[in-house]
């Protein structure tokens, strides 16, 4: 298992993600428990659509942003992406907690990786470069218990 503190360090210090929003879920307990307001801003969103709207807005102005969503809201993300976010040409990270345990497939046109404990720093850096290059949001799937 990866340690939440180490994951945050990569996000803050290496990738320079300083703004996060999302809808709380127990699957994110480990990451939420190690948030540090000295390093980041976090806005609790009223729903998934609001979180995606906020992240799209901050990303337009070049603020590297992340969104926390549970997999049941993946459909909302795809809908909002196709309706609006796609045309903005912005990149941000979408952390999706896999609550169902079933394999999550990448929606059409949206990059996706599944977080794994081996060599995750390099994978996150590569994925970040990819979504910035393609100006697209990218999904990082978090399986149950992968981060402690």
């Amino acid at each position: 298992m990866a340690k939440a503190v180490d994951v945050w360090k990569i996000l803050w210090d290496v990738l320079e993600y300083k703004f996060f929003t999302g809808v709380a879920h127990k699957g994110f307990d480990a990451l939420y428990g190690k948030m540090n307001p000295k390093n980041m801003h976090y806005i609790p969103a009223v729903n998934a659509r609001a979180a995606l709207g906020i992240a799209a807005g901050t990303s337009v102005n070049g603020v590297k942003s992340g969104v926390f969503l549970v997999d049941t809201f993946l459909g909302t993300f795809v809908e909002e992406y196709n309706n609006f976010i796609k045309s903005l040409d912005v990149s941000f990270l979408v952390f999706v907690y896999n609550s169902s345990g079933k394999k999550i497939k990448a929606p059409v046109g949206i990059p996706l990786i599944t977080f794994s404990e081996d060599n995750y720093e390099e994978k996150l850096v590569t994925f970040d470069k990819k979504i910035i290059k393609h100006k697209k949001p990218g999904i990082i799937v978090l399986e149950e218990g992968i981060i402690e």
Partner: protein, 207 residues
């Protein structure tokens, strides 16, 4: 009753050149596009995500963000307005053009006029609120708007009652991608958000 085109035109004339304006809704965008300027951005569909998109912009810049929508859009997802209200963004202003009708869908009535105290609803959410109706209806009233807009501290909502009749409009002949690039060029990326972030340690869900 005054048209949305006129209201938008008169407000735009009295904003600072650096203010960013966001318009949400197809017919509203077309009416605003008549007075298009470089700092305008259009979301030509009734997507509630537009309200929180404007909030995201406000969080990331020190420029003032004015977002225009119909009352119908507010009703479609009132929680987006709630998110704006609690944001503490001093640079965020929501201009709510209320007609009591679904103007983009045949002009059928909506429930906005039947809210017992619509201004109070927004005030209780956390907005400061102003009603601009009188400025448009009394002689010389428009002169007062500039002073009001200059001193607004958000999150604020401005109510203006508009008529059913459609004013001048112009079809958007550019894509959202074009407006997005234009918006990026007009935002000051060196600016900082004018809000106090919530203290996450005080939130219940953080261990």
């Amino acid at each position: 009753m005054i048209t949305r085109t006129t209201v938008i035109k008169e407000i735009l004339k009295r904003l600072d050149p650096t203010d960013i304006t966001i318009f949400i809704g197809e017919s509203l965008c077309e009416e605003a596009y008549v007075n298009d300027c470089d700092t305008s951005f259009y979301i030509p569909n009734d997507y509630p995500i537009g309200l929180t998109f404007a909030l995201g912009l406000a969080l990331s810049t020190d420029k003032r963000i004015f977002v225009f929508s119909s009352d119908s859009l507010f009703l479609y997802d009132a929680s987006a307005a709630l998110q704006m209200a609690v944001s503490e963004c001093k640079n965020l202003c929501y201009v709510l053009l209320n007609s009591g009708l679904y103007l983009s869908a045949g002009g059928h009535p909506n429930i906005f006029p039947t809210l017992s105290h619509s201004q109070g609803v927004f005030f209780r959410m956390g907005f400061t609120s102003f009603v601009f109706d009188s400025f448009f209806n009394i002689p010389g009233g428009l002169k007062e708007i500039k002073g009001m807009l200059d001193t607004i501290i958000g999150p604020t909502v401005i109510f203006v009652e508009v008529g059913k009749r459609r004013g001048k409009y112009k079809e958007l002949n550019k894509s959202v991608s074009f407006f997005s690039e234009r918006l990026k060029n007009n935002l000051n990326t060196e600016g900082t958000a004018l809000f106090e972030p919530p203290n996450i340690n005080e939130l219940d869900f953080v261990k």
